[in-house]
Amino acid sequence: MLREARVAVSVALFSLITFYFIDFAGLMSGDAANLLARMQLVPAALTASFAMLAGLAVLTLLLGRVYCSSICPMGVYQDAVAWLSKRVAKRKKRYKFGKAKTVLRVSMLAVALAIFLKFPLVSGLIDPYSAYGRIAANIFRPAYMLGNNALATVFMHFGSYTFYKTDVFIASVFSFAVALLTMMLVGYLAWRHGRTYCNTVCPVGTALGFLSRFSIFKIRIDASKCNSCGVCEMRCKAACINSKQHTIDSSRCVGCFSCMGVCRRNCLTFSPALPLGKAATAREGSPAAGNAVDGGRRRFLTAGVAAAAAAPAAMAGERAGSPTGATRYTRQHPILPPGAVSTDNMLRHCTSCHLCVSKCPSQVLKPAFLEYGLAGIMQPTMDFEKGFCNYDCTICSEVCPSDAIKRLTKEEKHLNQGGHVVLNRDICVVPTEEVSCGACSEHCPTQAVTMIPYKNGLTIPHINTEICIGCGGCEFICPVRPFRAIYIEGHAVQSKAKPFEEQKKEEKEIDSFGF
């Protein structure tokens, strides 16, 4: 019963958050949807959301680490992989009790916490929510879009535009590689050993483990009935049941309840306490156990080293894509998403979960490479290759669960200056070709770029950086290649743009046709 309930809840929450990430059409939005990300532990900690943190603490103190089996999408992903491995395995899959890797766990948590306070991004690499977000954004989302495009093609064939095609691309090769590696590594561990990641690397799992030791409800073994048959242990993907000793390490138990139904003698209960005298308290494995060699861990570390070795190659590949030439400009500073406040705020809050990147309807946000420096790798930055920032859109600021992008109203957004326009008249087509263009001004919502009379009835761009908000419309559309004649220079600290002068509407009476 408990297991079925857990499966139902986890499938529901997992599907919802996954769909939230891959939903390019914006079918899922609003505060209720945002809650899916905000209820994750790391974002809750980053926003210092007392209500959310208290809620999760109470949940864990009451029921144990059920968070790991239902709320955490990475946890459910591993369960799905483990379930699949069981379905395809030739032999019946059996888990075995493993000693707690306390030293590894605690040191991972300590490292994560230490970095967390300064650069959440680095700990964001192992934060299960952010890591899963990157997988969803980089791998599941493009796959979903390709499926959609195939469907759209079929429907179009029959004259229906019910589905529309969408541009599928990889915004950042580096981020894609990180996501793929994470997916493969965590997936491999889950395939072979169940919840190894959660009980070795995951800082959230370790933190919750401290609490779940003291939780009121726990799975307990009635030692007086137990004959150590081991059937529960074989089902335990967290490897926390020691059937010989009749103990369960509740700091590692993820509350999946898979063991509950299989005991033929009904010795397992999920209850506040066993009747006195029968209590078999769970004991932690000795710290020395951390030294025990574990195949999975060794492989994990090897793969980690391999990944680290491969990263520079991936980085180099990306760098090669940037243009070179005489009139090239290099942005002095990357452009922060509107509402990010400052590079500093971004560095201190963003775990690069890629939710903003996934949700940006204009495809203007992309994971940075080294624009913010090494510490800000994969954090969102504005890139005007695929689009520009919509004047009225505040979606990234609404979805960010970590306050790396602070919520903006439409009116605030209209004045949020994240960069300013720079015009290179030397290569603008109007003077060089003596033709009309005006593409930049056309896309400028504040008319920080206007077209003023030039000669022969032509108009030429003229810029006013004070009222520019750095949306990138001009840079996106500028037809000059290989280097654009107009571009946005980013600001390290966002400021308030001067509001453009609003003219009064004049009533103009026109009562003849004019011809």
Binding site: D392, S441, P445, I477, S512, G514
Partner: protein, 309 residues
Amino acid sequence: MDRKQFLRTLALAGAAITVKSKGGMDLMAQSQGKKPVDLVAVMGGEPEEMFRQAIEELGGISKFIKKGWKVTVKPNIGWDKAPELAGNTNPKLVAEIVRQCFQAGAKEVTVFDHTCDDWIKCYRNSGIEAAIKAAGGKMAPANEESYYRKVQLPLGKKLTSTKVHEAILDCDAWINVPVLKHHGGANLSISMKNYMGIIWDRRIFHRTDMQQCIADVCTMEKKPVLNVVDAYRTMKTNGPQGRTTADVVDTKGLFISKDIVAVDTAAAKFFGQIRDMPLENVGHLAKGQMLGLGTMELDKLNIKRIKLG
């Protein structure tokens, strides 16, 4: 082909003027039926009523749309702007055209534009998507290159081929429904400029000589059966996007013709009453006339002017 037609119109118009100057007009009208109207200009009233009156003068929509046809209506939906800001064609007008197409027996009516802002927002916030769906038409996406197919433009001077949306290529007839507005680059955006929403790559226009490219793309063999210029609200400054309603004048105008150069010339002259806009500055008009797309000489056309209460 169209040029031939155009020349014939010219000759007829010329003849008509000659006849008129001799006072024989009434007699002619009686003996040969009414001389066809080349262009209708309407002022005052609401968009639906304005179009109804105008199309009536041209002999009704069924002169242009036949039973069982697949029709495409191409408004300007370029910007994520509400109708009051006049960045897009008036949704009431577009819906009325769609309804009339269905009344004429059209099998289906498709509406689309290759937008500048995010297309979903443009379709929604322009009010056009809702109005079209209510009228029974369908909105086609135009956000992705695979919706476009390459078309040769043998008459083009600088633009000799371009990718055009399948909704234009695969329909039996299309109606061009631009909004009249100021444009920072082209100076004015009307019917000819509205072609930039049926093609995929616009940057090449901006790069190559936009005024010539606009005229060139209009030489595409498949011409609109009708150009309907919405000037119910006119963006006079900061076009084509505009910032606030201060950029907008409530002009309540509508211009409709098969001749794309003529209808744009008429609309440009109308615009010239709001602010100075020499026709030479709207270079694509003269370039269009040179390519035989129509005439800027309005005096030679039979223009019907209607003022509604």
